[in-house]
């Protein structure tokens, strides 16, 4: 585990070896170096667990986690694995656990800080059996994650080396996150789970890839709603792992650069345009902003549809994508209606996102037997600097830059 499972090809971040999506040893290494490494993972929105004892179960990478609201209002995150013989402790997706968490297997009980409080039959029965006197409750609590909150979102880390969350996100991307979530009170409008038959990184790359948007997703162009001539740009964090892309819709129609492409089918109009009755909610004319935080968190603003996406590995070749649709407590009825309508654009059945559910699977199937080959990530050059062109794979290279650094792949 001390050295990567294979060498990175020449070409730096412009070449990605297909083995990175298929190699079991590399996948194990990711668990240690990335998900238990110096990074932060999104756990839940703080508003999902408002009352003391409220909990939600989720994952940090593949590690099951229970996030729980303490009596003093703070939030704890604990590895959802009993310190006795390893059972899940919290079994439901969410609920209220009162003042303690009790494992059902042998009823070991933990307080909400994860401290082991009691072991049934610790002294045995009539002097027989029981735990040895040397057994120290204090040594057998639930493993606790570091927890930090930003913009009403709760993140956790298993690493003492991870920089503070704000530093991990960085000022540049943090500002773009503030832009959407600000200091407003979040409200969960719905959650959805989508199961993808591909390695988790293929989905993360896809969200960072501004190049594909107008080519793969032809909904906008078929219905003449958006052109690549719209202005926009990509912000990439210094290490490369976080990004925010945005576009401003100019609603122009000439679209000369589309000639000959599938996206340019003529003659279609929406029968019902209410799906685009959007409000310029943030007062800056930006219609779409996609933001990611290394390794696996995404925040989306598509018109007035705001959603969080958690990209959870399930083994090396499957991924669960968890969507949390958000509104704000101060939304008026009209705004809530728009969020509801515009949710048709995104999610597993979304007009502009359903393709993202299958394209990763196509890559995963196609690369079988080609593990010695590499993908080509050269659109827009070799670097990962911020740019005002979205015809670029800069943020994809940025991801690989941070990935390689975190995984110890030699530059």
């Amino acid at each position: 585990m001390d050295a990567p499972a294979f060498a990175w090809p020449a070409g730096g971040n412009t070449r990605v070896p297909y083995r990175v999506y298929t190699d079991a040893e590399n996948h194990e290494r990711e668990k240690a170096k990335i998900f238990a490494g110096p990074t932060w993972g999104f756990l839940c929105a703080a508003t999902e667990i408002p009352e003391a004892g409220d909990y939600k179960t989720t994952f940090l990478g593949e590690v099951p986690v229970v996030v729980v609201r303490r009596k003093d209002g703070g939030i704890n995150a604990l590895v959802n694995r009993c310190s006795h013989r390893g059972s899940l402790v919290a079994l439901k997706n969410q609920g209220n656990t009162g003042t303690s968490l009790t494992c059902v297997y042998h009823s070991w009980a933990f307080d909400l800080d994860g401290n082991l409080q009691g072991v049934p039959f610790r002294r045995g029965i009539e002097g027989k059996g029981g735990m040895p006197d040397s057994f120290d409750l204090k040594q057998h609590g639930l493993k606790r994650l570091r927890v930090e909150e930003t913009c009403g979102l709760v993140f956790g880390s298993l690493s003492a080396e991870a920089p503070p969350l704000e530093e991990h996100i960085g000022e540049l991307i943090g500002g773009r996150m503030q832009r959407v979530l600000g200091n407003r009170k979040l409200k969960v409008l719905g959650t959805t789970s989508q199961y993808l038959h591909n390695n988790w990184k293929l989905y993360v790359e896809n969200t960072k890839d501004t190049y594909h948007a107008s080519l793969l997703h032809s909904f906008f162009s078929t219905f003449k709603i958006l052109r690549l001539t719209a202005t926009g740009g990509i912000h990439v964090s210094e290490g490369g792992g976080n990004h925010a892309s945005h576009s401003r819709n100019k609603q122009d129609t000439d679209g000369g650069e589309y000639v000959g492409l599938r996206s340019a089918i003529d003659g279609f109009g929406l029968q019902d345009a209410s799906i685009f009755g959007a409000r310029d909610e943030f007062g800056d004319g930006i219609t779409v902003q996609i933001l990611s935080v290394f390794p696996n968190f995404i925040l989306q603003q598509v018109h007035n549809s705001i959603a969080l996406r958690q990209v959870l590995p399930k083994g090396v070749d499957e991924t669960e994508l968890l969507w949390t649709f958000l509104g704000f407590e101060d939304d008026d009825a009209e705004m809530q209606r728009m969020r509801l309508k515009q949710a048709n654009l995104v999610g597993p059945a979304g007009y502009i996102s359903m393709e993202d559910g299958c394209v990763g699977g196509w890559v995963q199937r196609a690369i079988q037997g080609s593990e010695a080959d590499d993908s080509v990530v050269e659109m827009g050059g070799a670097g990962h600097a911020s740019s005002d062109s979205r015809v670029s794979e800069a943020s994809v290279r940025g991801f690989w830059n941070q990935y390689r650094e975190t995984m110890g792949f030699a530059p």
């Binding site: 409008l189 989508q194 162009s221 089918i265 597993p348 299958c358 699977g361």
Partner: protein
């Protein structure tokens, strides 16, 4: 509740036509099974129970259904696939003048071009059916799916 046989048969006939329209890939005919101001919604049982409004699809008029079909045909990219609906347990819960409320169960098997076959979705249809001059139509069809997790994507309506 017990409704007369003719009414029940008309409802079940509408259900059967709905299923075959989708399974036979005659999606263009699918919106015509709804009233103009219909509601068609696909939402998980979890969101439904928690009264969270956002699910997979939310169309509040027939034009939106037509747009979805156009988009599936002309804009969206997905692998060739088909559904097979299994319907059962038609329970009429309310009937008043020209309107019925009906609950029924469904299972949808999804068949991919390589032959892989998956129990893709199961759940309930919560319907409000309007008896019009043209026969019964869906004024509301709320698809509440039990399988929290959607495999790959949902393109064809359930």
């Amino acid at each position: 509740m017990i409704v007369d046989v003719g009414t029940r048969l008309a409802i079940e006939d509408l259900f059967a036509r709905y299923a075959h329209t989708i399974d036979d890939d005659r999606l263009e005919e699918w919106p015509a099974l709804f009233t103009e101001d219909c509601l068609y919604q696909v939402i998980s049982a979890e969101n439904w129970a928690l009264k969270r409004p956002i699910g997979l699809i939310h169309c509040d008029n027939r034009a939106m259904l037509q747009d979805r079909v156009t988009s599936l045909r002309e804009a969206n990219i997905y692998e060739a696939q088909s559904y097979r609906h299994m319907l059962s347990a038609t329970l009429v819960t309310h009937f008043h003048r020209d309107e019925a409320r009906v609950v029924s169960n469904y299972q949808v098997t999804r068949i991919m071009q390589d032959g892989s076959t998956l129990l893709f979705s199961c759940g309930r249809y919560l319907d409000r059916i309007k008896f019009t001059k043209a026969g019964p139509l869906f004024a509301e069809r709320v698809v509440v799916y039990d399988n929290r997790r959607v495999d790959t994507l949902l393109a064809i309506p359930l």
